[in-house]
Symmetry: C2
Subunit: 302 residues, 2 copies
């Protein structure tokens, strides 16, 4: 499969490298890493075993790549206004577009530009960081859940699942992409938000009863908003408790938004907070704590 990677940060480089290693025809749109990758290839340091790709096809502009079978979008969501210039030249008649971005609203934005029938959503549970140019560090997890944006064709989802599985990515299909997106937000909103705001890792928040209680209250607000969106099956409150227990095993984990703040990068507040708040509000769901957290993050990073 001819694949273009747009937004070759840690996520794009990591999945792109795995797909190339398994034999796919992968083309990376690069900026910071262009010189390093095109001259020395790509090095992946992974908990599953390190590997090097000595020859990698890197490009500075999408029209050098042209139409592909699959565009894998890993852009930071605050750059979504660049979809036309970055994704447009890669889209031919039968091109699929898979967004693995954070938060809500990414499928919608791509669908509006390129047609909803070619949009696939993926929820990635990946812990990875960029290292030096040409290097990517895979620190944990890596699972992808894939779903149709418009439920057009379950068959092509199965083919993508097979492709990722062949590349040693833990990948499964879902019939309810919306639910998977919201499930991820149940974790992402409290932990990305609070860890970034307080500049404390996951285990510090969970160690204090009051703060742990706040995390849970925020989770319940997200679950209430999720269940107002017409999911096939509602998310029950027990999901919050299972996420807390799951997080107890994460130790000093620093969510991506905390790292982004430490490194003074822009935060994905609009997609992770703004869009869920808007979807909640549209269904009459109050989310005072989520709203306050978003305002505090915006204010703290001015």
């Amino acid at each position: 499969m001819r694949i273009a990677i747009v937004g070759a940060g840690a996520l794009g480089l990591y999945y792109g490298a795995l797909l190339q290693r398994s034999g796919e025809d992968v083309h990376f749109l690069l900026r910071r890493d262009y010189d390093a990758v095109t001259s020395h290839g790509l090095r992946v340091f992974s908990i599953n075993g390190d590997f090097t790709l000595p020859h990698v096809r890197g490009y500075r502009a999408p029209d050098e790549i042209g139409p592909v079978d699959l565009v894998l979008v890993g852009l930071k969501t605050f750059a979504n206004d660049r979809f036309p210039e970055l994704v447009g030249p890669l889209v031919g008649e039968s091109t699929l577009i898979l967004t693995l971005q954070n938060g809500l609203g990414n499928e919608e934005a791509l669908a509006e530009l390129f047609g909803g029938e070619r949009i696939i959503g993926g929820v990635a549970f990946l812990c990875s960081n960029r290292g030096e140019p040409g290097e990517v560090h895979h620190l944990g997890a890596g699972r992808i859940v894939l779903g149709e944006y418009q439920r057009c064709d379950r068959g092509r989802i199965e083919r993508l699942v097979a492709m990722f599985s062949k590349a040693w990515v833990d990948c499964r299909a879902t019939d309810d992409l919306k639910r998977s997106r919201w499930e991820k937000l149940v974790w992402n909103i409290p932990f990305n938000g609070l860890c970034a705001l307080l500049q404390q890792p996951v285990n510090m928040l969970l160690a204090q009863g009051a703060c742990r209680g706040l995390v849970r209250e925020i989770m319940l607000e997200v679950i209430a908003a999720a269940n107002a969106q017409g999911l096939d099956r509602p998310i029950d409150e027990g999901y919050a408790d299972s996420m807390l227990e799951f997080s107890d095993n994460m130790g000093e984990y620093r969510p991506s938004m905390q790292i982004d703040r430490e490194e003074r990068r822009q935060l994905e507040i609009a997609s992770i907070f703004g869009a869920p708040l808007a979807y909640g509000r549209r269904q009459g769901i109050e989310m005072p704590r989520v709203e306050m957290l978003a305002i505090l993050l915006e204010q703290a990073t001015r």
Copy 2:
């Protein structure tokens, strides 16, 4: 009048100095400033004019002072567990105790130890800081509103108002001490809390529409809790807007809790947040934003 100052921080030193200057017999219980004050006196740098008191009566222990007519309590509220040892030796049969401390619960704690009939509450609107030992800086305001804790004797309140007025303190009496305390909290909770959490001065919070809106929402939660306490007259929502307008003139003002955090001192979270939350909860009032702010402050200062 024979007066003891307990908790000779910026507030205690400032009002004590004004009272001594106007002819009262003032005795300061000191710790950090003992050596400086007993050897060189007290210097007040004030927007109303600087002055020096070359001779000041300073003590290390309250039994060196003994019973007085009036104890003025300016302790940080997290030291209220030291009331027995610090205030006890100063209390005789007819001693009045005036607390000018922050937040809620101080009159109650003093009343339980020394009897409610001798307790006067004062709400101070003062901007002052300690400087070098033996120095205090008065940066703005200074008004005190005095009220009876048990409404025993309006006459003695009038005498205290007269005493402070003679010392050039803008002082007035209130018949509803509870309302005055809550009115101050309408400002103190959002601004002390948010400025300390975000380490931003008042004007930075007010400049952003979303953050200004959050300040207002927090004020409305405090007003709702206040009005559930059985005040003589309720506080209306317009009070929030007038406090916002008032704050627009404060410029880069840093509330005391922000300064305390910058200087890594303990914060008065229990009296300014914990007690109002408990009083609200007892009347069935939800204060999600105030509660979240208190948790975030506790967590941020671990």
